[in-house]
Structures are given as structure tokens and as C-alpha cells.
């Protein structure tokens, strides 16, 4: 079959990203021709600022080298200008670098012509020494001028202007930034932050002239520009004038071809122009009235556009919320959303001039709509996420402005400004990944997403506590190109585009009863999924349809299949259950006997008040379990995404301070929840008085006895991200603890995403939501509690099930070795 012909005009980041996405999903559909006006392959335009500042070289910022085009069979014309689109004959007519005319036919045309800098219509704007700041050529010219001349003037104090000014100042020039408004970066910053930024830049040697209207650029004796004159009559010496007063979508070619343009080439949600064969992405496109000048939205456009070019016809681009970060070393500025102070918005402001910190958070209807951060921007990514997810922040409003402890968790405290970290600093403590390794991988492989960085470096791919830090490094390395994923809509894994929420809903709505059925119904892209999605799907099926869905052992992680915890050397650890942390001489004797009989090298008391036997060979497990069963002991599920332990203090049974019988209640709770699978592990604690010896404050459900009953706390976590449990409600007696606690857990089981702890679930859905279902509606609470009990009824201890093995050995086969 004849391949379709795709021609792309423009060789920049948005266009080439579209081709990359296209090659991923339909590598053989098109013969591709690319015209690029610049003599360079695709490079990261955002990083021209660090190049100008001397922090990077052109080589560092190339994203796709010539070999990439060759490897993908792309016909590349560099230095070629497209002069005409002949829509009637569907061809593009260009002039090559050597002056020849090239005509190429197309079936689909992709316009990625980018934008052109706005040049002020003033006398002298075409003098030598007057440039804009857009491409490698401009950058080279500035570097060259900096070596030979003294005075530079930058017109426009936006993101680009300030980065240009900073670069020129670092190269030794005397730089004045000229700006129309009252304060700098007025589109991205409010007045206070703008003034703070100005002061910081002045301290670095930059000068500013605000409220300045440029009248003309004056020609010197050499013919080069020598001064800039303002409307008020004043003037400044200038050997180099850099215009950074905004950009205009580059639409000349499209307009000439009669394609509808209006401040950009007008496209619909599929990035298609008014000519159905012609698509447009990037800065040249006007989508729903906006032409984006930042790179992150362009990548989203690229993905959607590629999907439609591949004739798959799914995916819509619905616009982006953008954030801004200034790339000037040593100065941290971040802004996102709307902070203009529109009606109905409220501000939370933290301003410490002494420390040079300013944070302004703009709220509307309990949602974050804008943020401006100066000096301390480490929470920028977090605020941006809240903003994009439109999360209700009612519950966290009181500490919202102080940021989130996502960053700088265990081991990273005080070290959270990624840009200032040395390359040798360890970022990911689990996998031993240093900052330098991450930066190198980002540059060498052209990575833009957290997922990519995880794949290539393993950083933040284990416990995830350094995720915020890795995101920061990514943001500071690729600049504005980094866009955190929309956490609520993130695809489960590479096997599907659907999110956890989508999958849960489909399983519920369509009564999908097995992993395989779910994959088939939802058109999984891989034959049997992967190690990420299969355990999630299995959990979703069995938790949504208890006693009906098929629990697939091969879709469970080995620990849940072998009912023991795999260790680094391939041996297992075995933890028998001790209800509520209570044991007996008989049980202890059984444990001691087993430890000796199976030559267990390590016996350890766990944090969950029980005993761990470490270093057991897999083939010994069934026999060991049989021994425990004879002593009346069951699996402790220390290996599962399931109920782990209910920790207790001695309580009123013995303690002179105890107000409630905590051991009693702990045992009852643990028996109620025995065998419960959940999105992640679940730990409980019951303390008999507010001294809280069972550490209820860091448990998924923490119960604290008081004289008049119990207080319930939820969403605590003592692990990766230490999170203090939040007060949930006060109840009168043991039965109510079980009903309220059980209802909360059931809600979490039904709504939680796989591998989401209760603290993250709580953060996502909000305390109000949980209160609505569990506290405010007694009927709903009872229903949830009953569903939990129904799901857990007739649960058989997996250890007993395996050594008794009614199936005649099939269950035990897992543990037997074939000797040859």
C-alpha cells in the first residue's frame, strides 16, 4: 500500500514532538518531510537562556540530532523556507538552502511555524545591533556583542527579556531593562513579587527603567545602534538592543494559503485547521482563543494531534493551565493560574522581606486558582497540581500557604531547592541516584516527564518520597517544558490510556469479574498487561465484586501469592498473626520450635507487635504453616496490600491510667478485618487513654480511648511521608468504633486507587467527602459497614488453605521445586 505523505512546516519543539508521538503509535503510516528554516535540527528553545548565560552549550540543548531524522526515515530540509502552500494541488513549495525550488505533495500538512518576536515599530528598529531573542542565531549574536561592546538595553521585562538581560549581564555587559509597566513580569507576577524580583536582579547588577516609552533607536557613527531615546526626551547608551516585547504567532504562510487565522492559525480540539487536511500545533496555533507561548501546552497538543494524524481519532485537547518559572540562577520565581484578584477570589499571603520570601495563594470557592511564589518556590509543583486538579482545599486551608512536605521528606530536609544542590547530592535514597545522574539522563535522552526519568534513572521509582525533588530537578533542567501530570487522570501504566478512576468505574458499571475480562473490555494495548496494572486490576475486581470476581494469583505480587515476604536473597519472611499484639506461651513455643526446626537465621520483633521469622526457604513454607496452624496461629498478612496489624497498648485491663479496654477492642477490630485486601496496606492502633502509647496518631485508623468513649483519627502514616492522622469523630463504644472505622475502610476500599495509602486518598477526596458518607448519613454508614462484613465473610486463612489444600496439591505446587 502506498504510504500517505505528511509534510511538516517548521522544525521546532512542538512539531517534532508531534512526529515523535506519531512514530510511537503509527510508525509506518506516513512518508514524512520536514522543512526547517533554521540550519539546526530540533533543539530546546527554552534552554537558550542558559546558553546565553554560559551555563550550557548549543550541543547540550539539541533534542533530536540528525541521526534521529535519518533513523526515522524523515526527509529533512534544513535552512529551507516554505514560500507557498498550494491547497488545490495539495503541495508545498519551498526554497532550499542552496536556492533551489522544492515541491512536495502532501496528504496531510502539519503547520508548526512557531512565532516571531514582536519588533517595535520605531525608527531605527532595523539598525545593526538591534536584535530579537528567538533562536540560536540571535543567541550567537548576543554572545558575540557581549565580547565586543559595553552597553546593552533589553526592551521588555517579561520572562524572555529578563533571561536575556541576565545572560548579557553574566557575560559582562552593562544591562538596562526597559519596560512599559509599573513593575516587571506584570503578566506573571503581582506588584509585590515583581518589586522583590527587581531588587534581587538589581543586586546582581542589572538596571531597570520602568514606565518607559521608547521613541527611537539612534544610529551611531559606525552605522550601528548607539543609543535608545525615550518619549520623555531622556536617552541611554546602547551598543546592543534586544527586543523582547512579546511574540506573535507566525501565520503569514497560512494566511497566504487562505487558511482561517485570527491571532494564530485557528484550530479545533483535534488541532485541525479549517482545512481538514491541515493541522497546526505549537505557538502558531490559536486554540479556543489562546495561542500558547510556553512549551508544556504544546506537548499536550502534540500528543492529541499525533493521535488524529495516526487516524485513531481519540483524544481532545481542551486547553491548558500554565505555570511560569524564571530561569535565572539563584532567583526563584514561580507563578500559575489567575492572580489578578478577580471578583470572588480570596488571597492568602505570606510575606517575609527579611528572608526574601513572598507567597500569594489565590482561592475561589475553596479551590486554588492562582499562586505567585518568590524566594521559596519548592512548593510550586504542588500548588500547580492542586490548581490543575481543581482539588477542594477546604480542609488544608489553614496550612496551605506553608506548602507541602512532599518535598524534603526523610533525608532531604533543608535541601529542597533543587537548583542549588551539587551534582553529587543523593536525591533518591532507595536507588542511590544522585542529582548529576538525573540531570545527565534528562539532557542525554531529552526527557520531559517524571515517568521518563523514573524509567531511565530509577530515581523516585521505589518509595516515591523524593518525587517532589525529582520534579524540581526536572523543572529546573528543562525549564518551562516540564508539566506535572494531572494526577487524577494519569494513565494506570503504559498498557492503557485510562486512569485508575476510569478503570474502577468500568469494572463497577459493567460488572467485570476478572483481570482478563477487564483488559479485553477496556481494550488493553498489551496481551496480558504488566506488573503494574495487573495487581491493580485484580484488586479492583475482587474488591468491587467480592465472592464473584476471580482472584488471579498470577496477577498478584509474589508476596501475596506466596503469603510471605520476599527478601533480597530470595528467601521469605514469615509473620504469624498475634491478634492485637497479644500472644501466649503456647504460641511463643510454636514460634521457637519453628525457628529451630527450619533453621531460621533471624528472629525479630516487628513494629506491629508480633514476631518475624526471616530467611525461610520457599519450599519450607507450607510445612512451617502447618506447624503454626496446629498451634492455632494464622497468617499475619505482613506481606499484603491488606490489613496488617492492630497495635494496642495495655489499656484499662492493666494500666493505672487506662480509660478503655484497648487490647480487647484491638483484638475485635483485627478479627473483624482479618483477610481484608485493600488498595495499600492498612494499619490500626488502639490506645486506652490520650497518652496514646499505641501511637494512634500515625495509623490509617487510630483509636484513642477517653473516659466517655473513643476518638477516631484517620489517614495517619508513619512511613515514607510521616502524616499525622486527622480527627474524624468521637464515638461512644466498641460497636461504634467498629461500625464507623469499618465504614471508612470500606469507602477507601471502594474508592482508593491501587497503591494509594489512606493519607493520600484522604488528601485526594477531602475529609468532607468522607464525613458525608460515614458521619452524616447513618444509612450509608451501615451499608458500607455491611458491605465490608459481607466481603470478609467465610475468609479462610491462606496458610491453612495451602497446607490442607483441598485442590489436591495444586495450591502447593507453587512451593515445590522440580529437580532434574
Amino acid at each position: 500500500m502506498r504510504k500517505l505523505k505528511l509534510v511538516m512546516v517548521g522544525n521546532g519543539m512542538a512539531g517534532v514532538r508531534t512526529l515523535e508521538e506519531l512514530q510511537k503509535i503509527a510508525p509506518d503510516l506516513y512518508d514524512i518531510t520536514v522543512f526547517g528554516a533554521e540550519p539546526h535540527p530540533n533543539y530546546n528553545r527554552i534552554l537558550l537562556s542558559p546558553v546565553l548565560a554560559g551555563e550550557m552549550t548549543i550541543q547540550d540543548i539539541i533534542l533530536n540530532d540528525l541521526q534521529w531524522y535519518a533513523d526515522n526515515d524523515i526527509n529533512l530540509h534544513l535552512g529551507a523556507r516554505v514560500g507557498e502552500i498550494d491547497r488545490r494541488n495539495r503541495s508545498v513549495i519551498a526554497t532550499s538552502a542552496s536556492g533551489e525550488t522544492i515541491t512536495v505533495d502532501y496528504d496531510r500538512l502539519l503547520l508548526a511555524t512557531g512565532s516571531t518576536p514582536f519588533v517595535l515599530p520605531i525608527p531605527g528598529n532595523d539598525l545593526p545591533g538591534v536584535i530579537s531573542y528567538r533562536d540560536i542565531k540571535d543567541t550567537d549574536e548576543m554572545i558575540d556583542a557581549a565580547a565586543r561592546y559595553k552597553h546593552a538595553v533589553v526592551i521588555g521585562a517579561g520572562l524572555l527579556g529578563l533571561e536575556a538581560a541576565n545572560g548579557l549581564a553574566l557575560r559582562g555587559m552593562d544591562v538596562t531593562v526597559v519596560h512599559l509597566s509599573d513593575w516587571i513580569m506584570e503578566r506573571q507576577l503581582d506588584r509585590t513579587a515583581g518589586k522583590m524580583l527587581q531588587a534581587a536582579l538589581e543586586a546582581k547588577g542589572m538596571k531597570f527603567k520602568l514606565n518607559a516609552h521608547t521613541a527611537e533607536l539612534v544610529k551611531g557613527e559606525s552605522g550601528r545602534v548607539c543609543a535608545i531615546r525615550f518619549k520623555d526626551g531622556s536617552s541611554l547608551p546602547a551598543d546592543l538592543v534586544c527586543m523582547a516585547a512579546g511574540i506573535r504567532p507566525n501565520v503569514a504562510l497560512a494566511e497566504q494559503a487562505g487558511i482561517h487565522c485570527n491571532r494564530g492559525i485557528v484550530v479545533n480540539d483535534t488541532l485541525q485547521t479549517y482545512d481538514p487536511r491541515v493541522y497546526a500545533v505549537g505557538e502558531c496555533a490559536n486554540h479556543r482563543g489562546t495561542a500558547y507561548g510556553l512549551v508544556a501546552p504544546l506537548f499536550e497538543q502534540a500528543k492529541v494531534c499525533a493521535n488524529h494524524l495516526a487516524e485513531m481519532g481519540i483524544g481532545r485537547y481542551q486547553g491548558s493551565v500554565t505555570s511560569t518559572k524564571l530561569k535565572v540562577t539563584g532567583i526563584d520565581v514561580f507563578s500559575a493560574g489567575d492572580f489578578s484578584g478577580a471578583e470572588g477570589t480570596e488571597d492568602i499571603v505570606l510575606h517575609d522581606p527579611g528572608l526574601g520570601i513572598y507567597k500569594r495563594i489565590v482561592l475561589k470557592d475553596d479551590k486554588l486558582v492562582g499562586a505567585v511564589l518568590y524566594g521559596d518556590t519548592k512548593d510550586g509543583a504542588w500548588y500547580f497540581q492542586l490548581l490543575k486538579d481543581e482539588q477542594n482545599i477546604h480542609d488544608i486551608r489553614d496550612h496551605l500557604v506553608f506548602g507541602n512536605a512532599h518535598l524534603g521528606d526523610v533525608g532531604h530536609k533543608g535541601n529542597s531547592v533543587a537548583a542549588t544542590m551539587p551534582d553529587s547530592a543523593e536525591v533518591c535514597g532507595c536507588n542511590g541516584v544522585c542529582k548529576g545522574t538525573i540531570v545527565k539522563a534528562i539532557k542525554e535522552h531529552g526527557l520531559f516527564s517524571l515517568e521518563d526519568v523514573r524509567k531511565h534513572t530509577k530515581a523516585s521509582s521505589s518509595c516515591g518520597s523524593c518525587t517532589g525533588l525529582v520534579e524540581q530537578i526536572l523543572a529546573s533542567t528543562v525549564g518551562g517544558a516540564y508539566q506535572p501530570a494531572d494526577s487524577n487522570n494519569k494513565a494506570v501504566c503504559g498498557c492503557t490510556d485510562l486512569s485508575h478512576g476510569d478503570v474502577r468505574k468500568a469494572i463497577r458499571d459493567h460488572k467485570l469479574l476478572s483481570v482478563a475480562d477487564t483488559q479485553q473490555y477496556l481494550r488493553w494495548k498489551t496481551p496480558n498487561g504488566c506488573a503494574t496494572c495487573r495487581p491493580a486490576l485484580n484488586y479492583y475486581c475482587i474488591s468491587t465484586w467480592p465472592h464473584e470476581a476471580i482472584d488471579d494469583p498470577q496477577s498478584r505480587f509474589i508476596n501475596e501469592r506466596a503469603h510471605a515476604n520476599i527478601q533480597k536473597d530470595g528467601t521469605y519472611s514469615v509473620v504469624p498473626r498475634m491478634w492485637g499484639g497479644l500472644t501466649t506461651p503456647t504460641e511463643l513455643r510454636a514460634i521457637a520450635d519453628a525457628a529451630e526446626k527450619y533453621k531460621v537465621p533471624t528472629v525479630k520483633v516487628t513494629g506491629g507487635q508480633r514476631i518475624d521469622l526471616l530467611g525461610v526457604q520457599k519450599e519450607d513454607l507450607p510445612a512451617m504453616w502447618a506447624d503454626f496452624a496446629r498451634a492455632g496461629m494464622a497468617s499475619g498478612h505482613a506481606y499484603g496490600k491488606s490489613l496488617r496489624t492492630v497495635k494496642t497498648c495495655v489499656g484499662a485491663e492493666h494500666c493505672r491510667f487506662g480509660t478503655q479496654r484497648s487490647m480487647d477492642l484491638g483484638v475485635k477490630l483485627e478479627k473483624m478485618l482479618f483477610g481484608m485486601w485493600s488498595p495499600h496496606k492498612v494499619k490500626l492502633a488502639v490506645s486506652g487513654c490520650p497518652r496514646n502509647c499505641a501511637e494512634s496518631g500515625i495509623k490509617d485508623i487510630g483509636v484513642i480511648g477517653v473516659d466517655s468513649g473513643y476518638e477516631l483519627y484517620i489517614g495517619g502514616n508513619g512511613g515514607i511521608k510521616t502524616e499525622v492522622a486527622q480527627f474524624f469523630c468521637k464515638v461512644a463504644d466498641d460497636e461504634e468504633v467498629m461500625e464507623y472505622g469499618g465504614a471508612f475502610i470500606q469507602l477507601y476500599r471502594e474508592e482508593g486507587f491501587y497503591l494509594e495509602r489512606t493519607c493520600h486518598y484522604l488528601e485526594r477526596v477531602g475529609m468532607e467527602h468522607i464525613k458525608q458518607h460515614v458521619l452524616e448519613n447513618a444509612e450509608r454508614r451501615k451499608e458500607l459497614h455491611e458491605k465490608l462484613l459481607f466481603a470478609l465473610q467465610n475468609y479462610k486463612d491462606p496458610w491453612a488453605e495451602r497446607f490442607e489444600d483441598a485442590s489436591g496439591g495444586a495450591l502447593r505446587r507453587e512451593f515445590e521445586i522440580i529437580k532434574v
Partner: protein, 103 residues
């Protein structure tokens, strides 16, 4: 060299699962079966940190190591990018519902 050793019946290996075969000559070998009823055998030792591959989750013709999620392609024992490494594969065949391996 071309001797095929009878290992077990195909039915003894779970679909999308594995069995551990202990050979006096070659040590522990993981024998896998995928959803298309193909069988594969590789050394039961991940090239990363020595994890027992037999305990991993099988998908397509790949296994994900249970210790640190390296992905090993079972046809040739190569580690999937971006990680690098390989593990020794062993020839296997199915005849009359029985699995044979060349050790």
C-alpha cells in the same frame, strides 16, 4: 549436547506463571509459561541484584523481577531498555503436553 531432558507436564506450570527447576549441572532455572502457552527457561537470577525471576509477574513474553522491577525478555534473556544486562536462556520445547529442556 542435544539431549532433551523431560521436566514436567505443561499443565504443571501455571499460565502466566513459573516453576523452579533445580539442575545439578546448571543450578536453579526458572521455567515460564505465558498466555499463548509458550514456554521459556532462563537462569533464575536477575542480572541486577540476583532476584529470583521465577517469582516475578509474567506478561507477554516478559517477566518483571520481584525485587526491583527489571524486565527480562524471556525469548533471549535480554533485559528490556533502559536497563542493560542479560540472563542465560535455555532451549525448551513442548511435545505431547510435556516440557523438555536442553541443559
Amino acid at each position: 549436547m542435544n539431549d532433551w531432558t523431560l521436566i514436567c507436564a505443561l499443565a504443571d506450570v501455571p499460565v502466566l506463571g513459573a516453576r523452579v527447576v533445580e539442575s545439578s549441572l546448571k543450578g536453579r532455572i526458572a521455567l515460564f509459561r505465558n498466555s499463548a502457552d509458550q514456554v521459556f527457561a532462563v537462569h533464575d537470577k536477575c542480572p541486577h541484584k540476583g532476584g529470583p525471576l521465577s517469582q516475578g509477574i509474567v506478561h507477554g513474553s516478559t517477566v518483571t523481577c520481584p525485587l526491583h522491577s527489571w524486565k527480562i525478555q524471556l525469548e533471549d534473556g535480554q533485559v528490556a531498555a533502559p536497563d542493560v544486562g542479560c540472563v542465560t536462556p535455555f532451549p525448551v520445547k513442548i511435545e505431547d503436553g510435556q516440557v523438555y529442556m536442553q541443559l
